[in-house]
Amino acid sequence: MSKRNPEYDFKWCPGCGDFGVVRGIELALAERTMRTGEPIEKTALIAGIGCSGNLVHLQEGPQPYGFHGIHGRALGIAYGIKASRPDMNVITVGGDGDMLSIGAEHIGPQAKRNVDLTAVVMDNGIYGLTKGQASPTTLGGVVTSTTPYGKLEDAVRPLDLYLAHNVSFIACGVSSKPKELAGLIGQAMDHPGFAVVHVMSPCTTYNDTYEALKGNPAKGIEPLAHQVPDSHDASDWNAALALVKQPGVPVGIIYRNPNSVPLHQRFAEARERIKPRSRSVEQMLNALAI
């Protein structure tokens, strides 16, 4: 529950991974504010809907600007903000439903434009707010309320997807380690271009994956999550692809394009190039004079 508005009538379930994601974002923003001296109001936090969408209301203390929009369109809205206000620090938050199902069509275009924003994707492998339907990252064969015979579709592999779109910065974190996550989000914000931080954020009610991620030696469960090895060269796209093709969830920075040029810089350069052709309204009208 938000302290700034005790009447606020939404809260997450106890133990929800999204609490860790909020903490990660708060820590990253606090660090950025300290380091740059920029007021927190220079950040806009954009969400679609779903459990993840409520994150924009849960920030404590001085607030970034927020946008709790409609399902799947956070990236489109963020593109609009960043392209017209390059001075803003823009972050989107969304779940696997919001970002990888209805909103997946917006990942490719932002990657191609290389819009300088940070997309935090909170993956719990389920639609939680609507009470437990299969999501794109729900594994094949899993029984949910909409897959009573077991899910017939294969699961989307998000990290492969980001790489295929040439997203210029890709990192993966887990919600149970907010400090580490904050570090990844901080680097994503500093990256000049489109950055995705994919976070494994378990749903304690409908898809509790804490044990699977962390492992449990007593039960003989090997951890899914493993640190990206120090030897990994994140500037090498092929190495990144090999990394995400290995079993499990690699935690850390997977890919970072060292030659990333963001959209607002491309537009500013184009504007300089075409300056000789640039016309005032008066000149446009005069060109049609008869």
């Binding site: 009447e7 806009a44 809907i49 927020g66 946008f67 929009g69 069509e105 009208l285």
Partner: protein, 571 residues
Amino acid sequence: MGADLVVRFAGEGGQGQVTAAEGMAEAAARVGYHVQTFATYPSQIEGGPVWAQTRISTNTILTQGDQLDVLVALNRQAYENHIADLRDGGIVIYNSKDFDTPPPGNAIGLDAEALARETGNPRAANFIMIGAVAQLASMPLDYFTDFVKVRFTRGRPNDAEIINGNNKAIEVGAEKASASGYAVEPLDQPTPSDTKRILARGNDYLSMGAIAGGLEVFYGYPISPATTILVFMENNLNQEGQFVGQTSSEIESIAAIIGAGYSGRKVMTSTAGPGLSLMHEGIGLAWIAEIPLVIVDVQRGGPATGLPTKTEQSDLLSAINPGHGDMSVPVIAPGSVADCFPAAIHALNWAERYQGPVILLTEMSIAERNEDVPMPDINAIANERRTVSTGEMGNRRYAGRTISPFPVPGTVGASYVANGSEHDEQGDTTHQPQVHVDQTERRFSKLALLEDGTYDSENTSASVAILPWGGSKGAARAAYNRLRADGTDLAWYFTMFINPMPPALLEELRSKDLVIVPELNYLGQFSSVLRGLGINAHSIRQYTGLPFKEGFLVEQVQAMMKAQSGKLVRA
């Protein structure tokens, strides 16, 4: 001598008819005539039936013209399709290469392509046709040769060669027409205007209006017949502080301008019916989150893909009430090319003033036609900006039952959540009944800020009125003029401010026994809206994909007035 010349060039796509019609119009406009063009084509890159029409007049032009003085038929099928529109005594210029036997009546056979080759410029077939038409209307050829000089002086080494070839083609065409012995009524001499004029296409003029009105950010996705707005913006919205982008869909367009509007910019997108449908959810978001933005909907035939390159006025209901939920979106609908410039400025101002979405509803027949219009005075434009918060409201962005200052992101101490869910004063989601009541009433109350629309009226004492909307204005006005000249007691009203309408206009219309609404749709959309506002409105409907003709409206108005007077007698 006559005041008017209507000529249609019809054939297969790629035969140069649009270039001929527009070239003829531009040349005539330069010497002081009023001109209007109209073109219709299929939705394909090449081929298919295409026709383009030019009307040249010494009077102000209201329609593209009901009947043709000259039909240029570039193939047999075009002749068959269009001959019914030729007036008695009109002349056909036919492509002799495509006709085995000459058509009956006043007909001149020309093989424009072969003649063009003979002049040494095979691409000058258009100018052969222009020369022939000019000769038939006894227009001095130097109107056209002078135009060619201006148009083709481009600083290239072969300028002179092209100019000479084109002008030779004009002369050859004129000689052929002259040799035929046929002629239409000679066109009166133009009276050059005292004021500066421009020749503009609807979509270009609308785009210039938007930029003059302070537009800063534009996003769009290609769709006929709105694409030319996106193209204009891509080429011209490039100054410091401006941004233009092509999106991946209309869904991304509306999302992006919501983001840009939220960030404090003056923003616009353009689309046609299918794109408007995709934007519905986003328009609802802009309404509930209170984001200023303008959506241009260039209407075409619908539903679904419908008639992509034809004209229709069938998006009105979905413009006023796009998508689900309680909302009433402001709509401005220009009635001519001349209206497009101020309409774009008004739309941007309305969006800024009431902090919400505005739909600028235009249509294919206006978007794609060229018209001569007075040079607008850009120093007289009043550009409005939203009232912004400097932090005095704290986080309470949605406080109060009416408009409140807009917090521009970056402003310290004014952060809030723009929310597409129902929300409290600072934008936090709530489902409490009283909050939904308060916020719903707040959103609707802001529409009262937009009741400053103006309207035209004439002969207002009559009990029956004609009230066209959008692009049906011209044909309706021509019909009105003819009916008034015949002594019919009919009132005239027009406004581009469709929602909300000027309150004084509503009062006047409520006092009428009958309000006749010519509109290009099956449902009679505007008259149904007006009946809901307590006005006895009934439509003259047409849904052919083509604009109204003046003669058709005269007959329909007469029939409706006759039926109405019968009703009054019985009552």
